[in-house]
């Protein structure tokens, strides 16, 4: 078991100017499950490969426990890349499939058997140990692969998009299994994904990266409730947060037809560079449908209603102008009561629930207030 520390770790690819990973500062606790998440090209996989020893570190350092591993070869780092390779050997028993790497390393037979049995118990594979892998289901084969990593008893597990080549059903199943298994084993784990839902459901903490720079690190709840900047606000959450930039007059933001009072701390945080504007964000579930003309209400023209049984969402556009949209879409999203849905073409009035507005600087994108 060990902590992992990125200390201003930087990776610059030869021939490029902008670092792929720029002075990453991140401390991962012993036994913690940390998810690195971000869009393609954000530096998350590069960070993981730096920890694995597969990428050179051009500045700063990486520590596993108290040991500086910056210049240590991958195989001497006491880490395991899980799921990279899980070809199963048809003629070998499940036990041999799990323990063969220990055999190569010259571990005594009795010790191999003991470690394999322990791992099998955790993985619910005990009764299959002496069978051939052909007898296993797809999920069980995945667990044998996990078992291979477990029996090596590494200090840190590394997983790089391990679920990307599974079909949707097996992906959700395996996601839950990995998370609960990691908690049982208590081995420090760094997990890379581009999927923020995966990140929110699996990680003890999440680190969001964009353009090689760490944006925020925190628990799923913190990331969701208090995004540090516009990027994190737009990236975390599904459906995505509605975000727009609006004019401010006398401490009030003009959103569609409504005039919304800003909190004192937000209003005070606006600088000359912001040009009298503020960026506001509110999640689809932070909006409440009210009767037309209510205090603080603005109107949304309905272009589509998505009914999901327990939930329903309106996709529409802000009436009376203004650029307000959720994620990469050009639409406003409102969660509504699935028993009371409007029609396409209707106009609904909505207000933001109290204290559920996120405010950011229009110039820097940093959180205000």
């Amino acid at each position: 078991m060990a902590t992992v520390t990125f200390d201003k770790a930087t990776r610059v690819y030869p021939g490029t100017e902008r670092p792929a990973v720029d002075q990453l500062d991140l401390h991962i606790e012993d036994g913690e499950f940390l998810v690195l998440v971000g869009p393609s090209g954000c530096g998350k996989s590069t960070s993981l490969r730096m920890l694995a020893g597969l990428e050179d570190v051009n500045g700063g350092a990486i520590l596993i426990g108290d040991r500086d591993v910056t210049d240590v070869q991958p195989k001497d780092r006491d880490i395991a890349m899980v799921f990279q390779n899980y070809a199963l050997y048809p003629h070998m028993s499940v036990a041999d499939n799990m323990g063969f790497a220990l055999k190569i390393a010259g571990t005594p037979k009795a010790e191999i058997r003991q470690r394999v049995e322990e791992a099998a118990k955790i993985l619910d594979l005990t009764e299959y140990l002496d069978r051939k892998p052909k007898a296993l289901s797809g999920g069980q084969r995945q667990r044998v692969a996990m078992g291979r990593a477990i029996v090596r008893q590494p200090q840190v597990f590394l997983m790089d998009e391990p679920l990307s080549n599974l079909d949707a059903k097996l992906r959700v199943q395996t996601r839950t299994q990995i998370a609960s298994l990691q908690r049982r084993l208590g081995v420090t784990t760094v997990y890379v994904t581009h999927d923020q839902t995966e990140a929110l459901t699996m990680g003890d903490r999440i680190a969001v990266l964009s353009a090689g720079v760490l944006q925020q690190v925190g628990t799923p709840r913190e990331m969701y409730d208090k995004p540090a900047n516009v990027f994190v606000a737009g990236f975390i959450g599904s459906p995505a947060m509605n975000i727009g930039t609006f004019d401010v007059t006398d401490g009030r933001a003009q959103v569609g037809g409504a005039s919304l009072a800003l909190e004192r701390a937000v209003a005070d945080g606006i600088t000359a560079a912001d040009g009298g504007r503020v960026t506001l964000g509110f999640r689809p579930e932070s909006l409440e449908v009210v009767s037309a003309g209510s205090e603080g209400a603005f109107d949304v023209d309905v272009t589509l209603v998505e009914e999901l049984g327990s939930d329903a969402f309106v996709y529409g556009s802000l009436k009376n102008g203004g650029d307000l949209h959720a994620g990469d879409s050009n639409q406003v999203i409102v969660r509504i009561d699935p028993r009371d849905v409007p029609d396409k073409g209707d106009t609904i009035s909505v207000t933001i629930r109290p204290e559920q507005t996120h405010a950011f600087s229009a110039s820097t994108g940093e959180r205000l207030g």
Binding site: Y13, P14, G15, A52, G53, L54, E55, D56, Q73, P74, K75, Q84, N85, Y86, A87, L88, Y89, P90, H91, M92, D96, F100, A101, K103, I104, K132, P133, K134, A135, R141, S164, N165, L166, D167, A168
Partner: protein
């Protein structure tokens, strides 16, 4: 059909549309299949016959499929031995409108041999070593172009006969990545993983009683590391010498030529007073002999086959007293009067057994044996006739050696039954 198929391919073959994409690959009917793969793969893979070709179809996540397709295309452009990607098919739905996995389609490499096929035949004792040598060359070539494999193993490689050796081809690029240049960490990880995987695969063969008991699995895994490092150092390492020893430049290049590599760029530096010279290859390209043979004859063959053919061409020039004639002219005459008559003497029905260049190589070997036995020089036509009857006729067809016949699954106590020989 409710599907909205998208085919991404450089040259889409309309016949692809005739395949039953609305059925999960695992349930494809036997009549469209050419064969089932052997062993346990993490994806469903099937072989089909289409427009006179054999294609391998693999069900895999959409983004991974596109990624692997692109990588294989780039490797092909870089002239690295790898399977040829045909395309990616997405947007599959079954009869109930349920989404089905995307597929990656690649062309089956003719005359290639999976390592399991080689071990299920009666083997020369050093086969494992020869496979390892081939894999070491492939790994060095991949690393030279900046490809990190991430999952080097015998099962992710196909082998083609190359005179008395083998040539290795990359089959699975799923975990790979192309970089400008690899770091020592990436190369070492690949080598370490290769060693572990190879030992595991050999232990599996041993467990299936397909490996001679004498074989030392760990020793063979270690041999890969050693072979790789030797070759890497020879191809990329620097040499120092005193300025007067200029012949060492040519000697260095010749040494790399003998290893089968051309030097594209050689860096030469001297110390300040000019007494010591340092040379280091900056760009090396594989295929020294095969490129030369191709330029002379248009024959596109493996490196060691080319070496053998070039030697025979030299003997031909000497025997006919034409060492001073234009090389191209002599090569043309050799092709017309020696090579072609030899391979054409093989009856058509036996030509699926081996590639022409391999047949020629084996005929030369055979002639040597029969000449020795007869204590006289056996002419080539006589040697061919004897080779065809005594050797080739008894060999398996290797043109499309795939997996199991459709409809046959190996049983639990017999995880792999015999190979199915496909005829196209």
């Amino acid at each position: 059909m409710t599907q909205n198929l998208q085919i991404t391919a450089a040259r889409p073959d309309p016949a692809l549309l005739d395949l039953p994409w609305d059925i999960p690959l695992i349930s494809w009917p036997d009549d469209v299949l050419a064969a089932l793969p052997r062993g346990i793969s993490r994806h469903v893979v099937r072989f089909v016959r289409l427009s006179g070709r054999v294609l391998a179809i693999k069900e895999i996540g959409e983004s991974v499929a596109h990624r692997e397709y692109e990588l294989l295309r780039r490797l092909n452009r870089l002239d690295v031995p790898s399977v040829v990607p045909v395309g990616v098919i997405t947007g599959r739905r079954d009869a109930n409108g349920e989404r089905l996995e995307a597929v990656l389609v690649t062309e089956h490499l003719q005359f290639s041999l999976p390592y399991r096929a080689l071990f299920s035949q009666a083997l020369r004792p050093d086969t494992a070593t020869r496979l390892i040598d081939a894999l070491a060359v492939l790994l060095v070539r991949l690393h030279l172009v900046g490809f990190y494999w991430g999952d080097v193993s015998l099962s992710n490689t196909l082998f083609r006969r190359d005179a008395e050796t083998f040539a290795a081809y990359l089959v699975d690029a799923e975990t790979g990545d192309l970089h400008r240049e690899l770091t020592p960490g990436q190369r070492n990880y690949d080598i370490d993983l290769a060693r572990t995987n190879i030992i595991g695969e050999l232990m599996d063969l041993a467990a299936g009683e397909m490996l001679d008991e004498e074989v030392d699995e760990v020793g063979i895994g270690d041999a890969l590391v050693e072979r790789y490092n030797e070759l890497w150092d020879a191809l990329t390492g620097a040499e120092y010498f005193v300025a007067d020893d200029r012949w060492r430049v040519d000697a260095h290049i010749e040494r790399l030529n003998r290893l089968g590599f051309d030097v594209g760029e050689l860096e030469m530096t001297t110390d300040i007073d000019g007494t010591t010279v340092r040379i280091q290859p900056k760009v090396v390209d594989a295929g020294h002999h095969s490129n030369r043979l191709f330029r002379l004859t248009g024959l596109d063959v493996q490196e060691n086959q080319a070496r053998r053919l070039l030697n025979d061409l030299d003997s031909y020039a000497a025997a006919t007293g034409r060492q001073n004639d234009g090389e191209q002219l002599v090569a043309h005459d050799w092709l017309r009067t020696v090579f072609e008559p030899t391979v054409n003497a093989v009856p058509r029905e036996l030509r699926r057994k081996l590639e022409p260049a391999q047949i020629f190589h084996e005929v030369l070997d055979h002639r040597w044996y029969v000449s020795e036995r007869a204590e006289r020089d056996i002419p080539l036509p006589e040697a061919v006739a004897s080779y065809v009857e005594d050797v080739l006729r008894h060999r398996p067809d290797e043109k499309a050696l795939l997996g199991l016949p459709p409809g046959r699954q190996p049983s639990e106590d017999d995880p792999e039954s015999d190979y199915f020989h496909l005829s196209t």
